[in-house]
Amino acid sequence: MAVIDTRTTGERVPASEGLADWVARRGVAFWIVSTLLLVMPLLASPFWLGQIFAYSMILGLIALSLMFLAGYGGVVSLVQMTVAALAGYLVAILGDSAITQISLKWPWWAVVPVAVFIAAAFGTLSGALSVRTEGIYTIMITLAIASAFYYLTLQNYSIFNGFSGFNGIVPPVFLGIDWGGTVAFYYLCLGCAALAYGVVIYVSRAPFGLALQGTRDNPRRMAALGFDVVAHRVAAYAFASVIAGFAGVLLVWFQRQISPGTAGVGPVVDMLIIAVVGGLSRPIGPFIGALIYVLLRTFSLDVLEGLGLDGKRYQLVIGLGFLIIVLFSPNGLIGIWERLRERYRRNSDARASAMRVGGGAP
């Protein structure tokens, strides 16, 4: 894709390392953010925990699966939101909901693996269909699959219950904890997000992830090195779709309902916006993008009305924000952060050398 610079580097680190090195190598920012996220329930109100942070992490997970494909594989897939929505629907269909004539009432521990597996299989199949194409054509095919799924859920009543979808879905109670509680659900989302984030970083430096980055930079050369590029890309879809599938399960537990609107073209494109705004170059980007998106969505209405404007124009604010970020930094917010850090480092280097030259005071 020429429009979006999807070039990504995994951190260049030795192939393996001890725990102490690992702790030391994470920056200060990493530990501050981790600690903040862990103690967040002490600091934030239930509204912020649930509606802002938990929701951001769920959307971030879906966008992470898109980032994995786009950032490491150079494949922009719009089908990831659909994969998540399918997993969400399956939770409602196989598990319990208010639509008792359809829901099969399986226990949650049977529902989740089956839902994720079927969703991942669907994502892999979509990948297999689109993977021989490049750039804009991949986007078109995956968008077509996403719209087809949206209309299927809208028009099919026997399985997807049409326009009204499913409501009354509740997160399970296990280990003596009601995971529908705000704090418990926050930690569930945090755990899933941290796990997926760690796994993506780990895999980016494993042979599979490296080879995927190779197919992004130069597919023809990859074949000339003995790799099967098509098989590699399909496997990347499978990997990314597992992440999206788990995110879909969390999403339906969070919303407690699911309807065609979840899989509509709007949310499908929103995922791309989230990933691009955050930055496709690092796995943290999608989470930052999701947080910005959720904040804008939640508060732009109040801000607009406070300014005496029509509150319904919040999409306009999101669109403008997207435009500004992409104009200033093709690598999203991550790109801006990296540039600032680079400038700071250069300035401090320059100061240090000026001091050496001037023989500054001890």
Partner: protein, 262 residues
Amino acid sequence: MSAVPQREPMNAAGSANALELRGVSRLFGALAALSDVTLSVRPGERRAVLGSNGAGKTTLFNCITGDFGPSSGVIRFFGEDVTAFPPQERIRRGLRRTYQISSLFAGLSVIDNVYLACRGVSRNRFSLLRPRRDDALTYAAESLVDAVHLTAVKDRLVGELAYGQQRQLEIALALSGAPRFILFDEPAAGLSPTERRDLVHILTGLPGHIGYIIIEHDMDVALRVVESVTMMHNGRIFKEGRPEEIESDSEVQELYLGGGHG
């Protein structure tokens, strides 16, 4: 001419040629980039393919590696018919190539580029586990980086390397795994005189069982590292011989060495 067993049917089993092309043609629309090329190279043989621009040299390489298949004809690699194989299957059988325009992974580090090349011809290409510190392929990649004098920059992104360094990395990628036969596409293009000397050194220092074909415009490089030469013109093979025969051939000189574009 005995040094160059050319245009002979393949011998009895056991003495298969490293590379055997029979009547290979490649059409681009109405343009025949290659027409009826028949060529045999023995195992371990080193050969130059010369010819002016548009003679079909790089197309010949693309057909051999399968980057795109021939329109007609048969290609055998160590006796095995590989005509219908995708590139990766040919590579896994020991064929390697370098590209005229460096074809690397700009977003990855030098060591990762070579590591991928080593990984491509091994098992576990889809492994989700990071290699351990004592991983044999990591070691192989590091010694290859060392062999092409790039150890000092092994953690740099390839996109940031100087041109000459990228050309050296090209060669490291081609030497990865266990190559049996390598196609070098203008390896000396754009190199400084010192780098050219290094290149000649690397090529002549390759283990004897590794044969290669080299496309090269620089005669000082090409004729010093091969034992046979194939001349191409307009997609056809037009002369074969030893380097000194080709150098002194009047027809060749007119057409290629001094003939200009007349």
